[in-house]
Symmetry: C2
Subunit: 246 residues, 2 copies
Amino acid sequence: MAKIVVVGLGPGGLSQMTGEAMEALRDSGVIAGYDLYIDLIRGAFPEKRFLSTPMRKEVDRCRLAVEEALKGNTVAMVCSGDAGVYGMAGLIYEVAEQMGEIEIEVVPGVTAALSGAAVLGAPLIHDFAVISLSDLLTPWELIEKRIRLAAEGDFVLCFYNPSSKKRFDYLRKACGLILAHRAPETPAGIVRNIGREGQESRVMTLAELRDTPVDMFTTVFVGNSRTKVIGGKMVTPRGYKGVTID
Amino acid sequence: MAKIVVVGLGPGGLSQMTGEAMEALRDSGVIAGYDLYIDLIRGAFPEKRFLSTPMRKEVDRCRLAVEEALKGNTVAMVCSGDAGVYGMAGLIYEVAEQMGEIEIEVVPGVTAALSGAAVLGAPLIHDFAVISLSDLLTPWELIEKRIRLAAEGDFVLCFYNPSSKKRFDYLRKACGLILAHRAPETPAGIVRNIGREGQESRVMTLAELRDTPVDMFTTVFVGNSRTKVIGGKMVTPRGYKGVTID
C-alpha cells in the first residue's frame, strides 16, 4: 500500500535525529519537505529524490507528498523538531483522508521545547504548557486566555513562534499577562537557532524577558514559582513538597 | 574537569535514541541510571562500567553519579524519554551544586508525550499541557487546579504517571474535571509500553477514558475541542480559524 512516513528531524544536525528517523529516510523513495529542512539533510542522502516547497505552503506540500505516495512511492515527509508538535503529521492525516487510501506512520523527533530546555538547563522538570504565539490560525484572544490560565496554574511555559515582523510585541504582551501571577524575578530563558550554527541562549528574569526582542527562530521559556538559577542554568525542582533534595 | 552528561534514551529501543545520545554513551567512562533503563542499553555497550540503582532512590543515584564524576570519570546518567521532562537533569544540577565543581550537559531525547502522540496519530498539533498525576511531591490540590485550568483553556492534555496502586482513581478524577469543560465525545487515547515489547494503544472518547483502568506504564492524551478521529487516529487541527485545509 502507498505509504507516507512523517519524520521529525530534531533541532538541526543529523546527529540529533533518532536512529529510527534516519532509517525512515534511508527506506524512502522520495523525501518531501520545506526547503530549509531539505537542505539540512540533502547532503547525507545524495541518491534520493527530493520534493521541496517554500514555507507557508503546507497544504500544497502535503498534497504533493500524498500524490507521490499514491503513485506507489514510499514518501518521507520531513519536519524540523517533532512532526507531531505544530508539525505536518496532522495535516497529512487530514489531506490523505480526502485523497485516497494510504498508510501513514509518524516517527517522533526532539521538538524545540526539549532541545531548548537542554540548552538552558532543566526548566521542564515539572508540569508545563506549550503555547504558540502565532495568531495566523488561532484568535489572539484564545492565545491570551491560555497564557493567563497557564500562568495562574503555575505551569512552566514554553512559547513557540514568539515573534514575527507583524507580531513584534506578542512576547511582551505574554510576559505582561504572566506577571499578573508570577514574580518579576522568575527565571526565564531564550534559545535561538537550537542545534544549528549560531546557536545562542540566555537566562534572564521574566521582567527582562518582557523587554527582550526575539525572532521566529527563538524558543522561549518561563519558569514556575519554584524554578531557580544554578550556575547560570534554569532548574525547576521536581515538586512542591518541602525541600527537593530529601 | 569532571563531567556528567544527562542522557534521554527515548521511549525504549536503541533505534529511538538520537545519534548524539548514542555518542554521549560511547564517550562516557561510566553509565549510571535506574536498573530498568540500564538493562535496555547494557547489551550495546558491553565494555562499559554500569552503576545501577533501584527506583525511588533518585537523589542517591545522582549523588553516586556526581561522586564518580568528581573522581575524574565522564559519567553518563541515563533516563527514559527525555532527561529534562520529569527526569534526572534538574536533580543533577541541584545535587552537583552541593557536592563540587562539575560540568553538566543535557542531551535531549524523545519524551513519552511525543512518542505516544506518534503512536496515536497527531494529537499534539496545537497548544498542549503536560501534567503528572503523581502526588508524591506535588499536592493533589495543585494537580486538580492545573487540570481544571488546562481544560478551561482548551489545551490538548497529556498525563504522565496516570495511576499507581494507591492512586488507582486519579485518572477518573482528572477526566471528571475535564468533562466540566469538554464534550464526553472528545477524542482521547492511551499508549502503554511505548516503543517497547508489548506496546498497546487505544483511541476512545473522554467518557470512555474515565472508566478505563490504566497503569504507570501508560501515557494518556485528551484532545482539544477540535480534535477528531481520522481512520482510528487522534488528529488535532492546526488552528481554530475557519477550516483547517484552505
